[in-house]
C-alpha cells in the first residue's frame, strides 16, 4: 500500500481525485481473491469517472468473489510530479496497492489522443511498455471503441478485447485463474485466450509491407492463430448485466449523474460515424427494465438526475412512454431526466418539453453539415426544414439559446458547403425574429461549433484523406467571415489535434515507436489544449522516420489492405464501399428501420434479427 500523505494531497489540485472512499466503491481483502484487475482510464478522474463502460465492468468483475477490480485514472500533471518526486507508483484507488502487482492492467480506449497517457501510466506503474519486455507482471490489455484499430498499440498490448466485454470478461478471468494455478508460461495463457471470440493477440502476427509503405500481408506466426478476429456482441441487452449501483464520486465529475443505457447500435447510417457502424445491431433494453433500474439506481446513488444514453435517443422504439413514465415516477422527488443525442425534429422538442417539467436544460442540435448536398453526402437525413421547425418550436417553448454542431473537412466538401453552415445559422436567427416579441424569450444566442472531420476505420470514409490543416484553418476563417449576425457565437476545435487523431485512428504498428518517442519528449494529455504540443509530435515522427501525412492525408485505394481489415465487425467491406460510392453521388441510404440495407450485421445473430428487445410495432413507424 502506498502512503500518499496529506502534505502531498494538499499541494495538488482536487485531491479527492486520489483518495478513493466514494459511495458504492467496492473494497475486498486482496488475499481473498485470485485475480486483481486494474481498470484504467487514460485520462483524469473527472473524465474517467464519467464513462459508463468502466462502471459496468467494474461492478461486473467485482460481483465475482474470486476477483477484485479497482479503478485507476491518469494523475493530473501536478500529482504526477509529486508521485515521481516521492517514488509513489501508480496505485489502485481502492487498495492503494501498486498496480504492477496486479494480474491485469486493462485500459479502455475511448480516444486516440489519450494514448500517450497510457505510456505515462505504465511508466508511473513501473510496467515495461512493450509486451515483449514483460516476462512477468500484469497482462496489459485494451478494449473500447478505439481498439477496433488496435495496431498503433500492437507492441504494447498483450491482447485486445474487441466488442462488448460484459460476457467475454468472465471467460478471460476463468481461463486466467486456471492458467495461474497451472503455472504455465505466459504464451500458453495468450494462446488459450486467443481461442476466445473477440480476443486479438497482436504478437501472434507479423506484418509485411510493400515498398510504398502499404501493408503487403499479415502473417500468423502459427497456423492455429485465427486469421480473422470477430467482435463480441451481447445478444440480449435486456437480460445482460447492468449494475444496480454506481460509484458516486466525492468531487464533481463531467457527467455527474445516473446513466442508463437504453439501447446499443444505430440504424441511421450516417457515413462519418464509426459508432453507428461498430455498435450494430440495434438492441434495446425494455422500458420496464429501464424504469426498474432507474428506481434502484436513484436509491443506491442518491443522484437527482438520470441520463438516458444511446447513440440517438429518439430512435428508442418506446421513447415517449419511457420518458413520460420516468417523469411521472420521479417528478415529485425532483429527479431530472436528461436526453443527450437528440435528433432534429419537432418530436425531440416535445420530449424536451416533457422533461422540462423537472429541470430546464440546454438545447443542442447537430445538423453536422451546412448544406443539403453535404448532409446527403454524409447520409444525415435531416433537412433544413427539420431544423427550422425544431428551432421554431423551441423558441416558441421559451428557449432563446441554441447550440448547433457541425463538422468541417468532410469528404467532397466545397467552400460553398462551409458557407452553408453560416447560412443555416442565420436562418435560425431569422426564425427567432419571425416569432412575435411577446411570444419569444429575450436574449437570442446561437452557438455554432465546428469540429474537424477525422476519417475513421469501419466507416464508408475509411479510405478518404483528411483535409490538410491549412485547408481546415482556411475553412474556419472563411466561416467566421461569413457569419454576420451578432447573435451567433462561433467556436471551433483546433485542427492540429484532429490531424493527430486522423494519424492514430487509421494508423498501423509502425506508430508504437512514435508514441513512445512522443512520450519521451514530454507529450501527455494530448486531448487537453494546454498540454498538446504539436511541435514535439512532429519531432517524434521525424526521429522515428515516420511520415504522419501518409496516414492522415492519403487517399487509400479500395483494394488496399487496411491495418484493421482482419477484424470482422459484422458490417461488410462491400457495404462500406457501396456507401462510399453513394456518398460521392450524394445519394441517400434509408434508415434500416424502413427496410434492411444489407450492411451484413444480420449474419451475426443466431436466427435472430436486428432490433432485439425493441417494441417492433413502434420500430417500423416513421
Amino acid at each position: 500500500m502506498v502512503d500518499i500523505g496529506n502534505e502531498i494531497l494538499l499541494s495538488v489540485s482536487k485531491p479527492a481525485r486520489y483518495t478513493g472512499g466514494e459511495i458504492n466503491a467496492v473494497y475486498k481483502d486482496p488475499k481473498s481473491v485470485d485475480v486483481r484487475f486494474a481498470m484504467c482510464f487514460p485520462d483524469v478522474y473527472e473524465v474517467g469517472m464519467s464513462h459508463l463502460g468502466i462502471k459496468i465492468l467494474y461492478h461486473k468483475i467485482n460481483d465475482r468473489e474470486d476477483s477484485y477490480c479497482e479503478r485507476v485514472f491518469a494523475p493530473w500533471p501536478d500529482m504526477e510530479s509529486k508521485m515521481r518526486e516521492n517514488n509513489i507508483p501508480l496505485y489502485g484507488l481502492e487498495s492503494k496497492d501498486p498496480i504492477s502487482k496486479f494480474d491485469f492492467v486493462g485500459f479502455t480506449l475511448q480516444y486516440e489522443m489519450s494514448y500517450t497517457n497510457i505510456i505515462n501510466m505504465l511508466d508511473l506503474a513501473g510496467i515495461p511498455f512493450l509486451s515483449s519486455q514483460r516476462a512477468k507482471g500484469p497482462f496489459v490489455i485494451f478494449g473500447g471503441p478505439c481498439a477496433y484499430n488496435p495496431e498503433p498499440l500492437a507492441d504494447i498490448a498483450d491482447f485486445f478485447v474487441l466488442g462488448e466485454a460484459e460476457e467475454v470478461i468472465d471467460e478471460i478471468l476463468d481461463i486466467y485463474i486456471k492458467w495461474k494455478k497451472s503455472r504455465a508460461s505466459r504464451i500458453e495463457f495468450l494462446e488459450e485466450v486467443s481461442r476466445i471470440q473477440g480476443i486479438y493477440v497482436p504478437s501472434f502476427y507479423d506484418i509485411e509491407y510493400n515498398e510504398d509503405g502499404t501493408i503487403k500481408r499479415r502473417v500468423q506466426k502459427k497456423r492455429q492463430y485465427p486469421e480473422v478476429i470477430t467482435k463480441r456482441i451481447i445478444e440480449d441487452i435486456d437480460k445482460s448485466y447492468y449494475p444496480d449501483k454506481l460509484v458516486v464520486p466525492l468531487t464533481e465529475i463531467v457527467h455527474d449523474r445516473i446513466m442508463i443505457e437504453t439501447f446499443r447500435g444505430c440504424t441511421r447510417g450516417c457515413r462519418f460515424c464509426q459508432a453507428g457502424m461498430i455498435y450494430r445491431p440495434v438492441r434495446e433494453r425494455k422500458t420496464a427494465t429501464i424504469t426498474e433500474l432507474a428506481e434502484k439506481l436513484i436509491k443506491s446513488t442518491g443522484y437527482d438526475e438520470i441520463s438516458l444514453t444511446s447513440l440517438s435517443i429518439c430512435d428508442y422504439s418506446d421513447i415517449k412512454n419511457l420518458v413520460t413514465t420516468l417523469v411521472k415516477n420521479h417528478e415529485e422527488d425532483k429527479v431530472g431526466i436528461s436526453l443527450p443525442s437528440l435528433r432534429i425534429d419537432s418530436f425531440s422538442v416535445d420530449l424536451i418539453n416533457e422533461i422540462q417539467k423537472i429541470r430546464k436544460t440546454g438545447l443542442t442540435f447537430a445538423p453536422e453539415a451546412g448544406s443539403q448536398r453535404m448532409r446527403d453526402v454524409i447520409n444525415k437525413g435531416v433537412t433544413e426544414e427539420d431544423l427550422i421547425n425544431s428551432a421554431k418550436s423551441a423558441f416558441e417553448s421559451g428557449w432563446s439559446s441554441i447550440k448547433l454542431y457541425f463538422m468541417i473537412g468532410l469528404p467532397f466538401e466545397t467552400f460553398e458547403d462551409v458557407e452553408g453552415i453560416a447560412k443555416l445559422a442565420e436562418k435560425v436567427v431569422d426564425t427567432y425574429y419571425s416569432i412575435p416579441k411577446n411570444k419569444r424569450k429575450k436574449g437570442l444566442n446561437v452557438t455554432v461549433s465546428t469540429s474537424s472531420f477525422v476519417p475513421k476505420p469501419f466507416t464508408p470514409f475509411q479510405w478518404e484523406p483528411q483535409d490538410r490543416i491549412e485547408v481546415l484553418v482556411e475553412k474556419q476563417k472563411f466561416l467566421k467571415e461569413k457569419i454576420k449576425s451578432k447573435s451567433i457565437t462561433y467556436n471551433w476545435h483546433e485542427s492540429p489535434i484532429s490531424f493527430l487523431e486522423a494519424v492514430f485512428s487509421r494508423g498501423d504498428r509502425r506508430l508504437t515507436k512514435v508514441l513512445i518517442k512522443a512520450w519521451e519528449l514530454g507529450c501527455k494529455f494530448d486531448g487537453w489544449q494546454e498540454y498538446f504540443d504539436y511541435d514535439k509530435w512532429m519531432e517524434a515522427f521525424k526521429a522515428c522516420g515516420v511520415d504522419p501525412e501518409f496516414y492522415a492525408y492519403r487517399r487509400r485505394s479500395l483494394d488496399e489492405i487496411l491495418p484493421w481489415d482482419f477484424i470482422d465487425v459484422g458490417v461488410t467491406k462491400a457495404y462500406l464501399k457501396r456507401e462510399l460510392k453513394m456518398a460521392q453521388e450524394g445519394a441517400l441510404t434509408r434508415d434500416c428501420r424502413l427496410g434492411c440495407t444489407g450492411c451484413g450485421i444480420t449474419a451475426y445473430l443466431k436466427g435472430g434479427e436486428c432490433f432485439n428487445g425493441a417494441n417492433l410495432n413502434k420500430v417500423y413507424q416513421e
Binding site: 496529506n6 485531491p15 479527492a16 472512499g21 468531487t251 464533481e252 455527474d256 430546464k360
Partner: protein
Amino acid sequence: MERILIKFTKNNEARFISHLDTMRTLQRAFRRAGIKVAYSKGYNPHPSLSIAAPLSLGISSNGEYADVELSEYIPQEEFIKRLNEQLPQGIQVLKVIYIEKKLPPSMSAVMGAEYHIKLKHNLKFEDLTDVVNRIMSSKEIIKEKKTKTGVKMVNIRPLIRDIAIKAWNVDSVVFKCYLCAGSRYNLNPEIIVDVLKEYSENRIYGFPEIVREDIYSIEDEKWIVLDEYFSGK
C-alpha cells in the same frame, strides 16, 4: 416543513472534499437515506441545505454544521441512524436539532471557531509558552490579505481570541486556537500557522495538521458552541 441543524464530522479523507462537493455529498446521502429535503421554488429548484461555515480543503472537523429543511419530521435518533448509514467514511452526523422558532440561518450566527493545530518544533516548553505569550500580548499582527481588488494589509490580532498549548511532547505540539469566524470577520487557521512559525523563528515548523473542533456563536457576550446556541429554540 421542518428546519433542522445538523452537526457532523469531516475527518480522514473526507477532509479533501471541497465545500461545494460536501453539499452535494450530503444531498445525495439524504436521498439514499430516503429523507426528503425541501426544495426551493423557481427556475432551477435546489435542495434547501446550507453549511454554516465553509471549511478549507484539507482541514478536519469535529464540528461542522448545516441547516436543512425537511419536508417531513423524523425522530432524531432515527434520522441520525439513517443518514449515517449513507454517509462516506469520515463524515458522520453527531447531532440533529429541530428548530421551531423563526431564526436567521445558522450561517449568520457563526462568530468563532476552535481549531487544534499540530506542528513540529524543537523548543523547550517554556519557549513554546513564550511564543504564545508574545503573540497574545502583541497589539498588532499585520498580514497580507488577498481581496478581489488586490492585496491588503490587515491587522489580524483582534481576530485571535485565544491561543493555548493543548498538548506537548519533545518534537510536536498542539495549539488550541479560538479565532473569529463567520461572514463578518474570519481568520483562516493557516495564517496562525504562519504566525506561530514567524514568532518562533521557524523553531515551530512543518506541515500542520489542523482540526476544527467546533463552531461558536455569541450570546450575552460569551462564546457558546453552535449546537447549544440553537438547542431548544
